[in-house]
Every structure is written in structure tokens, then in C-alpha cells.
Symmetry: C2
Subunit: 183 residues, 2 copies
Amino acid sequence: MQDTKEKIVGLADQLIKTKGFNSFSYKDIADPLAIRNAAVHYYFPTKADLGMAVIDQEINFMNTGIANWETLPEDQQLRHLIASFENKCNRHMVCIMGSLSPDYNTLPENMQARLRQFSASVIAWVTKCLENGQKKGIFHFKGTAGDRALLIVSNLLASLLLSRVMGETAFENISKQLLDDIL
Amino acid sequence: MQDTKEKIVGLADQLIKTKGFNSFSYKDIADPLAIRNAAVHYYFPTKADLGMAVIDQEINFMNTGIANWETLPEDQQLRHLIASFENKCNRHMVCIMGSLSPDYNTLPENMQARLRQFSASVIAWVTKCLENGQKKGIFHFKGTAGDRALLIVSNLLASLLLSRVMGETAFENISKQLLDDIL
DNA sequence: GTCTATATTCCGATAGAC
DNA sequence: GTCTATCGGAATATAGAC
């Protein structure tokens, strides 16, 4: 099957979000797919290659989601973003930023750059969403939209981490306050 | 020297915050201290033993800090907490919760339990601080003190992670808003 | 209390057959 | 496109000398 490659990326994505990039091995991918570790190396010669493919897939997912919400009111767009984090929370996953950023110093240079790009684009999208919503009178907040976007993204990221340790109610409490503070 | 043990814990603490628990090795500790990896095993038979010692040290540090601020006004206490995170940010470190929570599923059971204990006590302290400050009219916020404490801790935690990827201005922006929102 | 030496296991990665 | 087989290295950990 040609989509073995896609299955590998999908599995690696899951493993990064559940165990962390440095804590999973090619064996963790080969075994569930019933292939050999050499087969994984055929598609992704180095682990960094696999890591890059995962981040690229995340960027695509994000862009696809964003495109689907484009025509909605800004508060609905933001709710969709929060829902995508809630979905991760329910499956006991953290987001790619929450998983890779603690290991940032140990990542190869190309993965670091791609992760920076991903983070910047997420924050840029939230910033734009807040700006547009503010103009329409949907959102109300002090300070710049960029600063507030940083606050929202950092909260969503951290609430997944805290939920893992403290239980899922942590996510609900935090995400609810985030919206209440600006609506 | 007897304080070799303390040096090992201190170095392990640094390594967890810069590289992550699963991404450092006994060699990373033995080399800088100019001892053999077997010497590290003498003090800490397993890596989990070392990890437990690090979390215990963090709990002690936190308790010591808290005790020193006890007599200060609550806003000053909170500023001290934020300053301790800022100090980590300047040294390009994340906090122990930010570092260990993404790897939570890979940690031995005893480390998981100790980490839960640490997180719960930090949040409990912030909750109490907010409650007392609210009674005195120092803090003003909607919702319960517990929910607000969760929001503040998650922000401090995540701002260190984001700072690593996006630059240190991320921390300043976020911590400033945190205080502005409740003063 | 620290060492040498080594056991064991696992990892990422490569060569070459099919 | 996937396999077998294997390499070289690094990791955690242990046994036993000093």
C-alpha cells in the first residue's frame, strides 16, 4: 500500500503528542503497522525527516480548519479553535507546540525552524480573528490583539498539559474563562 | 565530598528544564562533575530515583519561597511568584511542570504521583493568595479564586514554553496582562 | 565513596536480497 | 516497497575491586 507513508506520519503524530519526540522509537511505529523498522527508514531516512513531516501535516490541518471557518462570525471561529483543543484533551493528547517546545533545545535545526513557523502562524491567525471581532464589537479586551492572542494560545496549550496531570476539568475551567474575558 | 549528591540533583534539575527528563543521560551528569556514570548510580540507583529527588527539591524550594513572602501584601506575593518564573525565562529554562507534563505518560508511577502533588500545591497556594487578596480589595476578578489560579499558573507555565520558541518578549507580554487583569 | 569493567538492552541507521 | 541481517553507538544498570 502506498498510504503506508501516511499511516506512519499519522502514528508519529500521535506518538509525539502522547510520549514526546525523544521518547518514541521507530519500533513504536513499526510494530502497530506490522512492518519492520527498516521500512520506516525507507520512507523517512532520519527521525528528523519524520518529525518534519509531522509538523507539515499539522500545518496543513490547521490551514484546512481555518479555511473552513473563514465565513463564520469571529466568536464562532474562536470557538472552533477551542473545540479542536478540546478534542485533543478528550483523547489525552497535547498539541504539537506543547509537546515539542519543552524539547526545543534537543531538536534538529530544521525542526526548530518549522516549529517556529507553525507557532507564529497560529498566533497570527488568532490575532487577526481578535482584531476583526473587535472591530465588529463581538470581542472586548484591553491591550493589543497580538498580546491577547498570545495569552489565549498559551492558555490553550497549557491547559492540555495541566489536564494531563490534574484531570480534564482543568481544560474546561480555563477555556471557559478565556471566552468570558473577551465576550 | 558529600555534596556530590547535591550537585547531581542540581545538575539533573537543570537538565530536566533544558532538555527534558527522557532526553538527558547519566553521562550528561557524570561528565561535568568529572565522575563516572557508576558514581551517579551509587547515589541514585535508577533514573526514577533521581527524578524523584529533583521534584522533591523543587517542592522544598517552592515551600521556602512561599514562607519568605508570607507577611507581604498578596499582590507582592504574586509578583514574587511571577519573578521566579521570569528568572527561569532569563536562563532559558521552563518550569518543572512545563517540562515533565508532556512526558507524563512515560514517567514511572511514583514520579507521576509526586508531580501531581507538586502541581496541586502550587495551585492551592495561588488560590489562597487570590482569596486573601480579594478580601482585602487588592485583587478584583470574576469567577472563583480556584479557577483564576488555574488560569494564572497555566499562563506562567506556557509563557516559558512559548518564550523558548518565539523569544523572551512572549513572557513579558503574558505576565504583564495577568496582573493587569486582576489589579 | 568512587572506580573499572562489563552486561544488557535498545536505538537510529545502512547494506543488500527479494 | 518491504524484507533480513547487522552495524555502531549509547543508554541504564550491575558486579566487584580499591
